[in-house]
Symmetry: C2
Subunit: 336 residues, 2 copies
């Protein structure tokens, strides 16, 4: 049975790594609302997505510790009394990973080992939920993609995220540190980094629509993707953290219906009432790591944790657009 | 068509990383015999398997450069004029990887990126053949295991070797550095490290038989494995280096018939005429990462490169035992 995950978190001591980032901050706000005892750790590395404004209105209910998850002694201390750890710290830009693979390795692999070693040595009773990615599948052999699909990443970031995920499974299996991974599809919503376009296209497109600018689609825009609203992803993390049925395993967390880039942009521009679209040639560096159509099957996670996406794309885009209309300047400043 | 890989290597400028190790040194000797221009790089890290005696008789035909493959500037220089790179440098102990995951990460991930970046920047025309491992599959879901089996490593070493392999495929696909990976099963033969038992059991069992000592089998010894003689593995590398049909892909390199641990040890003791066997309980740290029976299907590599194993286990063990009988002391010294 799925425990009542809202009851579960009352007074629960929780750590969120990457807690000032897009998903981490939304999760932290939800945890605070559930009266959890929430500690956030974030390195605030410029350009990565950590943004103190993401906690606006919740500053008094969330503790923030600025630190780098690669720091073993720091993490040894921070994990000590935490009952659930949501592990979302990471370098998420595919493009950056191809330009500087060593840094991506450091953050997406070494830092994961650092956290897991801290748990193993100082808090083996904790539970870790890792933010994995659908990128580990690479170019799909079949659609929709479920968890039996081969792992075959097409870029360095996908490889290192796969390794980070596997570490969690090994620490669960060998050292008894309960852990699982959620392989997230394209996530969108308030509090996403939109200052540059190196962390995926959806946030960038939303910014361009809000600013009334031109959105460029590579190729004919026929490739399909599934999108999941950040509140649904937060719910997925809360469920995964609260049930032991997911331990030692990986789960897709995908969207409702797949949609083409073309239709997505049309819906986005229509919802925003601003922005325009232009079709352009693929840039070589992006084409080389493009995977064509992708959408995932989340049945396994539904069966294990009762999760399904609840927010449709139209509503999610509307809420996201409203958020950025109100707070756009907070997401354009250096460091945001 | 499969090129004549013996002709292919005459005068060919070749680099072997981990060239003083078990497979690397056997490969280097074969390349010298084929009149290739061979440069070996090896860090000679104690306990890892590099042993200068492995080149005995070939010292004048092989150039050795002692260096660490993690050193970017060194690798930038060494790869410059090499037409084929056999990339065998690695940390190969599962047990060590669980005790010290950060070092395993450094050698099996960072060093691979270092080599590939060197190629991308300074010799993009080269061809890289990576020594992968059947460990990336973890505990088999079906037997025999072919390349469509999920990658799901059960230890840190397997995870990092998987990442190292994926890097090669991405550099092939994205940056045009031709590369492939051979997923080696249990390899045995002359020049293997046998000074300690942390690099797999087959070399250790052979040493014990040669020394007339007791061999311990964990559990009932019913689990199956396939074994491949090092000369067959050398042939696999030579073929992979000489054909472009393997670029950007992964291939199992497995043995002939699977055999149980029990029957293996019986054959080993019978062939050696020395040694004894005792069945003991599984040690916890080994049981946690044991995968049960495993044997691989090498049909894909046969189809791509014409390879199949030629040396049966009886002959291979006999040749290995003879080698260590003659040279045992060279493999028991500190540093060997």
């Amino acid at each position: 049975m799925i425990p009542n995950h809202q009851e579960f978190y009352r007074g629960r001591r929780v750590l969120v790594t990457g807690g000032l980032g897009f998903i981490g901050s939304n999760l932290a706000r939800a945890l605070a609302t559930l009266d959890a005892d929430v500690l956030l750790v974030d390195s605030l590395i410029p350009d990565y997505g950590g943004n103190l404004f993401n906690l606006a209105g919740f500053e008094s209910r969330l503790r923030v510790n600025v630190a780098d998850v690669r720091q073993q002694s720091t993490m040894d201390y921070l994990v000590r009394d935490r009952e659930v750890i949501f592990n979302l710290a990471g370098q998420v830009s595919h493009i950056d990973s191809m330009r500087d693979p060593a840094t991506d390795l450091d953050i997406n692999c070494r830092a994961q080992l650092t956290l897991l070693e801290a748990c193993r040595r100082h808090n083996p009773e904790t539970k870790v939920v890792y933010a994995g990615t659908r990128q580990v599948y690479g170019k799909p052999a079949t659609l929709p993609v479920d968890e039996t699909h081969l792992v075959r990443p097409t870029d360095i970031n996908g490889i290192n995220k796969a390794a980070g995920e596997y570490y969690h499974l090994v620490y669960d299996n060998v050292f008894g540190v309960r852990a699982c991974s959620l392989r997230l599809t394209n996530v969108y919503g308030p509090r996403q980094l939109i200052r540059h376009n190196r962390q995926g296209f959806i946030g960038w497109f939303i910014r361009l629509a809000v600013e009334g600018k031109e959105i460029q689609i590579y190729g004919d825009g026929s490739q399909l993707r599934d999108f999941v609203f950040v509140d649904d992803v937060v719910d997925a993390f809360l469920r995964a953290g609260a049930t032991d049925a997911v331990n030692g395993d990986v789960f897709n967390v995908g969207g409702m219906e797949p949609i083409s880039h073309r239709d997505l942009v049309e819906l986005l521009i229509g919802t925003a009432g601003s922005g325009s679209v232009r079709y352009v040639e693929w840039p070589a560096e992006k084409k080389a790591i493009d995977i064509g159509s992708f959408y995932s099957d989340s049945t396994k996670f539904h069966n294990a944790a009762g999760w399904r996406p609840e927010v449709n794309l139209r509503d999610g885009l509307r809420r996201t657009i409203e958020y950025y209309r109100e707070h756009l300047s907070k997401y354009l400043e250096i460091g945001s």
